[in-house]
């Protein structure tokens, strides 16, 4: 049975139609976290976040507190918030920016205060036209309210936040590519090392990049204390987290659940959550953390949803997106479409990713649509081994960023788990699901 009695940390206002307005935000305790933060030393605020053990909610799951403390030795110039949510089937940040923009902004102000940064940018996907409008309106209202601008709430802290639109490129979710886009250039990920923008970020200056959901957790953490947050969940996975459930389920949507206390079975089948498989069909497989993550079979349904729990089974919780495939879903078509996505979105800097993604897409296309051969499977495995040597998880890398080694995840899992289905496609020279 799902454990659903944990506090609503980032979805507390989801029940209101006007959850995006300043009036509703203030009426429901909004900007109280910021007021409290301003009575503390910046270091004390950072310590609360450290105590919370808040893992970054963007995909890599790096502890936010540690990201900050790496930087505190030098003066940080910029805080950049990553709202370029583009990992397929991930839609939690879309929800947060449209439904509760003030919560995001309050989190950003708190983070900026802890880091003593006076300039922050919120980078949002260009496709979020309404989200851009709502965040800008909320920023305007926050300036008016005294929560932003010069001498916030009569303290000595000042901050300016600029909302920056993307223009349709998955790769800009990679933090160094995002910084390039913010500098007005093509979204080409930067060569590592340095591994962190903390060393060389926006305009070459020390920069912190954090995800939207990470920021949205901060008002609650400051108000209730990092220890209260760390008291939720288990192990390294503290607090609650948003999960975007999609695919063949009765109730796709955004669910905030306590980490580790629930299993994938709870998320997919509990009547208060996913509600089971569409038409009560049988589950075939599921993707536990966005299309960059290796797939799981039904045998993993009882795995607790936690960062390390999933990592131990050679996949990742990633961006918090769970996609369900059932008996009516063609795995070859699903893996082909994911390969096509990576092929379209590869920035083209590195040969293994640029060329490899296209080859994989074309081979998968012919397996799905006719023209495929059984030898293609070994060819695909060999090809993918050139992108991510060993095809292990976490993957080895031959490219500047992690987009390359993410390409094989789905195709490799599909071949591994459903070789019979590929054989059927080859025999029929087409898709048995058509």
């Amino acid at each position: 049975m799902a454990v659903l009695d944990s506090p609503r940390i980032v979805t507390a206002r989801a029940q209101y139609d006007d959850s995006h307005t300043l009036a509703r935000y203030v009426a429901t305790g909004g900007y109280e976290g910021l007021r409290k933060a301003l009575t503390l030393f910046p270091e004390e605020v950072a310590r609360e976040v450290d105590d919370a053990s808040l893992l970054g909610r963007g995909g890599a799951g790096f502890p936010a507190g540690r990201k900050w403390s790496m930087l505190r030795k030098s003066q940080i110039s910029y805080l950049v918030v990553n709202g370029d949510e583009s990992e397929p089937a991930t839609f939690k940040d879309h929800f947060l920016v449209e439904r509760d923009p003030h919560q995001l902004i309050e989190g950003v102000i708190i983070a900026a205060y802890a880091l003593q940064v006076n300039q922050a940018f919120i980078f949002l996907r260009g496709e979020f036209a309404l989200g851009l409008e709502r965040v800008q309106q909320a920023l305007n209202d926050a300036y008016e309210h005294g929560a932003l601008g010069s001498k916030i709430f009569d303290s000595n802290f000042s901050l300016d936040i600029v909302v920056h639109p993307g223009a349709g490129a998955y790769i800009c979710g990679e933090e160094t590519a995002l910084i390039e886009a913010l500098e007005g250039k093509r979204g080409f990920p930067r060569i590592k090392p340095p591994f962190f923008p903390a060393v060389n970020g926006l305009y070459g200056e020390p920069t912190v990049v954090n995800n939207v959901e990470t920021m949205a957790n901060l008002p609650w953490i400051v108000l209730n204390g990092g220890k209260a947050f760390a008291g939720l969940g288990g192990g390294r996975s503290t607090g609650t987290r948003l999960f975007a459930l999609a695919g063949r389920v009765k109730n796709p949507g955004i669910y905030e659940i306590e980490m580790v206390k629930n299993t994938f079975r709870d998320l997919i089948y509990d009547p208060a959550l996913g509600g089971g498989i569409t038409n009560d069909a049988t589950i075939k497989a599921f993707i536990p953390g966005g299309v960059s993550a290796p797939w799981f079979g039904p045998d993993m349904l009882d795995l607790p949803i936690g960062q390390d729990e999933v990592a131990e089974k050679a996949s990742m919780l990633g961006s918090g997106s769970v996609v369900v495939l059932d008996e009516t879903s063609c795995v070859v078509r699903a893996a082909w479409r994911i390969a096509k996505f990576f092929s379209r979105e590869s920035c083209g800097q590195c040969t293994p990713c640029r060329e490899g993604s296209g080859w994989i897409e074309r081979a998968m296309y012919r397996l799905e649509h006719g023209g495929g051969r059984m030898e293609d499977l070994d060819m695909l495995l060999d090809l993918m081994d050139n992108i991510a040597p060993g095809l292990t998880w976490p993957p080895q890398q031959t490219t500047i960023c992690v987009l390359g080694p993410s390409i094989p995840s789905s195709v490799h899992a599909a071949i591994d788990m459903f070789r019979d289905e590929f054989a059927e496609h080859v025999k029929l020279q087409g898709c048995p699901f058509d």
């Binding site: 991930t90 036209a129 300036y143």
Partner: protein, 205 residues
Amino acid sequence: MSHLRVELRQRAEELIALYPRPRSAMLPLLHLAQEQDGYLSEAGIEEVAQLTGTTPADVRGTAAFYDMYHLEPVGKYVVGVCTNIACLLAGGIELLEHASSTLRCAVGETSDDGLFTLEETECLADCDFAPCVQVNHRFVRTTTAATFDALVSDLREGKRENEIPSHGTLIRVRRNGGLRAQKNDVNTERTDAKAARDQRAEEKA
């Protein structure tokens, strides 16, 4: 002589003022140029180059990287149908095929009447309403063939103009205050913040 309309030119200059370096305003400025012309015209590109201190070739090369910028004219309504994983599992490919026949144009093409351009998009992050459709980057949440057709007849009759404005993802995004907008120097503020921190540390000690 500015190619951008007076009001857009003013918004462009306001946007540039928000950033430490003018080139950072590249993406929002390209959205503005597209808002006026529907696509990135030669004159629009030249003006963005001038405003950001770059060259037209640099602007074009940057714009070409991003899916949302159109380097050729498009229809009044750009219809995007997602076929990525969540939408695929909900019939996205079938809806895209249906859209192609309703709009009477192939994927990637513009209809003869110049009203619609149809695109196959990657995930638009609205997967609880799969298959996902956007018109001019507004989520319309028409997940079935029937609701899609109803939307298209509304658009043909000009009924949804308010809900779905013409091009420009920033068309209703306007900033009305703040440090940089008032041309205050953020660095002074930063010095203030440092001084305050030192002072508070002293008090606490």
